[in-house]
Amino acid sequence: MIAFKMPSLGADMEAGTLVEWRKSVGDQISHGDIIADVETQKGLIEIEVFDDGIIERFMVEEGAKVPVGTVLAMIRPVDEKPQKLEVSEAPEEIKKKSVEQAHQTNAKRLKITPLAKRMATDNKIDYGKLKGTGPEGEIVKKDVEKAIEELAVSGTSPKVSPIEKQPIPSSTSQINVPSQKSIRAAVAAAMTKSKREIPHYYLEKKIDMSKSLDWLRKTNEDRPIQKRLLSAVLFIKAVASSIEEVPEINGVWEDELVIKNEINIGFVLSLRGGGIIVPAIKNADLKSIDEIMEWLNEIIPRARAFKLRSSDLSEATITLTSIGEGGADKVFGIIYPPQIAIIGLGNVIDEAIVENGMVGIRPVLHATLAGDHRATDGLVGSRFLDALNKNLQNPEEL
């Protein structure tokens, strides 16, 4: 039997509220399936399972707030032989239970999850009229979302220009959006923990971006506008390649350095209302430049709408923060625990650079690295920045 626990979605998460089960007892589930919605300080997150099996039992009721690591459900693996015999009996049991529940449904006439009820009430939707598509006909979040969408469509004249009328904020996103206070609290918790526990060291390297920017310009010239690349893509790819050369910088601190084989880069996104969210691009070293751009196109709108899944927010092995055009020239990051390094890229600015005894004006990137001195020494960080410089001088090879 596998105990499925409340996952940690970053150093800032201590507890989560199980808002809605998306599966029922007896359901067959497989790796990557969304089993529940959990409310955290950073909004509503879809929680995925990592095992194949059958849900034996729920250990936590909808609406309960539980600490990270609490067992949420028991999952019976499908591939266990002795268990297979039981499986043949199980459906009976499940059937009985479903029948029982179905009776209950008839008796109560209406089953609705707490989240769906709250959303319906907030949006003045008569949930008595909704058709539930959840387990045993229960009305779930999806059903209310559909009703809200239908209401929004029928309630808006298509001729109204977006300027005259503010776009109706989707109420589903409204319910997902955590308060400014809770986002700040999440950032505060993680950063305080980091500064309290991690002895940071800081390094900086100036990188001549002429070749990278030329390459980017030429690449984009040949591309239709929808396929153009942002410099962030090149940065992510260059960081991934540099980690391959200096793998000691990629890992977590668990009373000792644990170097990770997977290169999952947490990419800092700022939220329009303030605060940050850090989804991770998995196996960035194995992704092409175009795949990284596709990831950005997919993740940024989802992150800003607070529609992330558990796998987007866990498993980062290093963090990259890029200030972007027009911002500060340098950024010295604070490590996101339990990771051991954060890379900071500033705004690219024209600066005087000395090369072969001659002074020239070049676009310059100030790349920094904050490292955990318990895990690595400055030499490792320095080798990483050297590798990053080298990779950005050869963009065509990335």
Binding site: S161, P162, I163, Q166, P167, P169, R217, N220, E221, I225, Q226, R228, L230, S231, A232, S270, R272, G273, L296, I300, G324, E325, G326
Partner: protein, 81 residues
């Protein structure tokens, strides 16, 4: 297409990338990205949307001409005619 129409489209698309702002309060020579706090990702989304809506290609080398409303309108009129 009249300038006012183009301007309305620009306002609408800016509102999409920066929903909590009021693009119509921008002055003609104000830096759009700075004033509405638009990052490079959103800037690209805006250019893509503008290009699709107006049916004009906006090459990357011309992005510099889209910095404020005055330059953007001159540029778009040129591309449209």
């Amino acid at each position: 297409m009249k300038e006012a129409e183009i301007l309305n489209i620009v306002y609408g698309l800016l509102k999409q990338v920066a929903p909590e702002t009021d693009p119509s309060s921008l002055t003609l020579d104000e830096n759009i990205r700075e004033s509405l706090n638009i990052d490079s990702y959103d800037a690209l989304q805006f250019i893509v949307a503008l290009s699709e809506k107006l049916g004009v290609d906006i090459p990357e080398k011309d992005y510099g001409q889209t910095g404020n409303l005055k330059n953007l309108l001159i540029y778009l009129e040129k591309r449209l005619h």
